[in-house]
Amino acid sequence: MAKELQTVRAALFGDSEAAAEIHHKHYASVLGALMNRGTAMQLTRSEVEECVGDLWSDCFGGTNSKSALLEKFSGDGSLRAWLITVGLHRLIDIARRKRFHHDMAADGKTSSVDPMDKIPAADELAPDTDLVSLLRSSLKNALARSNREHLLLLYLVYLHGIKQRELAGIYGCNESTVSRWLDSTLEQIRADTVREVEILDPAAGLEWREIVQLCHTINQELNG
């Protein structure tokens, strides 16, 4: 991960080999993943290609008023997942606008409200409801299959700061036993969530890191 961040920094400082390495490594796979999602959102191939093309030029091409998009990559996660997350948000925006134009055409000329007033500003858009509900349903179904007691221990450790050592004391067992319970529950949640996403939206093509990254990005958006 640190190496990826170094490559990104080098590319931003004008190292063309680093930029070429990023392109070689990620362009096709990001385009493929976004093409799958775009198709599911009823976007055309050329709309997705244009979106990815814009994403790519924004990644490197800063302007006077806007810095290069890659400046925002912190290395907190893989570059591929980050690119797909940013790309997905753009696709969602395009799909929304497309739906809006479609609805406006269907609405006809009967409405007295200026149609331009109905368009939400890009930064006011709530996270895509389809994507949020896909992630929510998949996660909830995965959690519903977890061992209830071990799931409770996960909440205690990761959300409430209880030490595994303390739980071992409560259960009268070794800390490694508690660690095994937590690890196996996390693994079950991981595997079941990925499987659920695949079942609910086979075109999504999301991997575990991408799912976590998307949830993280949506959390930040919901936080305002």
């Binding site: 907190d76 949020v132 992630l135 205690l156 959300l159 409430h160 004391g169 949640i189 949506i218 959390n219």
Partner: protein, 82 residues
């Protein structure tokens, strides 16, 4: 850095009807008693099962359970150690 589980739990809590941390009702005395027994390592398997079922239906009470465990930590801390 947040763990994957933290990110996912926050996502569920913020994106929908998850109730963790939202309901202000405090646990009743029966629940507190169960939490205390658990925190002291005295709960029987049946009591643990009852407690798990209870917090499954009231995830907002997990915070109270964590608080009981923290209080036990304070009580059992060797004297003179920070």
């Amino acid at each position: 850095m947040q763990t994957d589980f933290e990110i996912l739990a926050k996502f569920l809590a913020r994106s929908g009807a998850e109730v963790e941390g939202r309901i202000s009702d405090v646990p009743d005395s029966d629940a507190i008693e169960l939490f205390r027994k658990f925190a002291n390592g005295k709960a029987t398997p049946e009591e643990r099962a009852r407690m798990v079922k209870l917090v499954d239906s009231r995830p907002d009470w997990i915070a109270a359970l964590a608080e009981e465990i923290r209080q036990r930590r304070q009580r059992t801390k060797p004297k003179g150690k920070p």
